[in-house]
Amino acid sequence: MSAEKQYIELYNSQRPLIDANAAPVLNACRESAARVLAEVGLQKAKDQTHTDPSEMLAADYAINLARHEVPTSREDLFTCAVPEMSTSVHFLVNEQYVGGKHRDNGYFAGSLREFATQYPDIASQYYNRLASQPTDTGDPRSRRYEACSFGESALNTMLCQDGFVLYVPSGFEVSKPLQLISLLRAVDDLMSVQRLLIIIEDHATASLLVCEHASRLNDLSHLLSLQVTEIFVGNAATFDFYSLEEHHDLCQRLGQIYVHQKAASNVAIGLYALTAGQTRNRVHVCLAEPEASIQLYGMATLDASQQVDNLTFIDHQAPSCQSNELFKYVLDQKSRGSFLGRILVRKGSDKTDAHQTDRNLCLTPDTRMIARPELEIYADDVKCSHGATVGQLDQNALFYMCTRGIPESEARMLLMFAFMSDVIDGIRIEPLKDRLRHLIEKRFRGELTQCKGCAVK
């Protein structure tokens, strides 16, 4: 039986249980999601990335549909990795929001289930609006590649019961960055069906750091995080979203991030993978109205058999929008990575300013990196550029440093750190920038084993 059939059967047999432990707004989307999944299936790796979602999802994972209480007390679990930001910390253990009832601060940050129950009107206006749409690529040739992950999103919608919501109403400014610690934790193979819904209304401002962690309770249990994140950013609103991943070798992550931007909105997305098992992020940014701007940054520091794939699609649908994309990988030992970045500038999107850079260091001959930049431009008056490189450390610089007495290992570390500096400098939250510099330095020194940042017990 194919993986998708297995999940559809599960859904059909457990529907009452799933519904009972969720919210009507979430339940209303399941039927159509099941149909989509049956129709398009799960993505097979025909898109040149290393990961194959249908294969990842074929394993027999437990899913906590009955919403058994997660036997954890968050205070016992975490020591915060970014202490300067700890004023507003939220927790997800697997997909479940842990942290009690939401307090009214003028905005909502809390459980998806609670939000969908309390504010069904707002929730239904946004929930699954982006994830339920097949990506219109404007080009039938690449439709299959871009439509990929539609099935995974449908699978998430079909089974989703909880997650995290950030809702910032019109004109409100959330002054402190919010932090969401997302922890995978199970003694058996487990799939976490996780959902993030982020709504930043007109002229509102917020920033969110998501720390992706995983407990390694034994050497056997595989953890899969199936994530869908929908981000809506209103007129002249500002939103920063950073994902800091410190997964271990038994983790898999299949993430879809959808971003929809209205006029003059300003968004920064940063995907920082310090350690990973097998990760595949797909980011789809729709610049729907004029003068919207997106800064999409990503980084991966990989060794052993770690694997990170980033697939990005930036869709310039309106004039005078800006996109600035920068991805950097350092691959050591037998790690593998890919970056597939597509920028589409549609007809009429004049005055577009779009730039993409992808630079990668392969430190050993056993690493593999696939870099595929794609730029499609159907408007005349635009500024676009892209560059992709795969290379080694600069041997001349290495020798120069050694002649000054810097030991080779230290020189390599300094060069790798320098290589990553611009992708770190792009972070717009100062304490996070400092923290990440520190973590990356530790990572390159080999002092960062999984989940050291949060002292997960």
């Binding site: 041997q395 610089a397 050694c402 007495g405 300094l414 320098a418 290589f419 611009d422």
Partner: protein
């Protein structure tokens, strides 16, 4: 009685399979300044690359003793700790690595090798300030990435600044004077002269008279086709500047 610091014996070396050095013999005692001259392609820069352990060059024959130890067995960083310094002909730009971090890593690695505590941040910055003044290197440059966006003259002054920071026992100046205007040349030469002492030695590779006037080597060697073909005192340098290398070529080819 003179103490040999560096003894090069019958050194043969090649790069990418091509033999460049064909039997160099050279002894440098403590406190001496030697100039090495020769036409382009004679092997002068290859010699400095070999002395600092550049992995692109292969020693095929011969040996080098430095303070009586086998230099060729040492890694480049170990040679630096032992007091060898090369002022590069083409200093390397290292984007993203600040001069401060670069120098601190270098100074503290050297101190660790010598069994000294690392400098505190205050001590280190004070040292940077002092040595920067020696070569009149702008504070702004010290805060930038190593050599990135430096002019040709600034790069060379930065080399001498690093030399002043590391206080080498054997400094090799590989065409440090090329591309310098007269003022910069004086600053660089002053920097070199300040380091002179009875224990320290220098090798100055140059094409120009001016630098030799400033640093005043006791010995001049002419390298031609991978060998030292003539040794002499300052008067040998004067003759090269007056007449060029043609008479050397004729002497050797005979």
């Amino acid at each position: 009685m003179s103490n040999p610091l560096l003894e090069i014996k019958n050194l043969h070396a090649s790069v990418a399979g091509k033999e460049i050095l064909r039997g160099i013999n050279l002894t440098i005692n403590q406190g001496e300044v030697h100039a090495i001259m020769g036409p382009n392609g004679a092997g002068k820069s290859t010699l400095s690359a070999i002395l600092t352990g550049n992995p692109a060059y292969e020693v095929t024959e011969g040996e080098i003793l430095y303070k009586g130890k086998d230099l060729l067995a040492m890694k480049p960083e170990q040679r630096a700790w032992e007091g060898i310094f090369l002022s590069f002909q083409y200093p390397v730009e290292i984007p993203g690595v600040s001069m401060v971090n670069f120098m601190r890593a270098a100074v503290n690695a050297q101190r660790e090798y010598r069994g000294l505590q690392p400098l505190t941040a205050t001590e280190f910055l004070k040292l940077m300030r002092e040595k920067r003044a020696v070569v009149q290197l702008d504070n702004k440059l010290a805060n930038r990435s190593v050599n990135e966006g430096f002019s040709g003259g600034e790069k060379k002054r930065n080399e001498i600044f690093q030399m002043a920071m590391l206080e080498p026992t054997l400094s090799i100046l590989d065409e440090t004077d090329s591309g310098l205007d007269v003022d910069a040349l004086r600053i660089v030469s002053d920097g070199v002269n300040r380091l002179k002492s009875a224990e320290r030695s220098s090798i100055v590779i140059t094409h120009y008279q001016k630098l030799l006037e400033y640093v005043q080597p006791q010995f001049v060697h002419i390298v031609y086709k991978g060998r030292i073909v003539k040794d002499g005192g300052p008067e040998l340098g004067d003759r090269i500047f007056a007449e060029g290398f043609d008479w050397i070529r004729q002497e050797v080819e005979l």
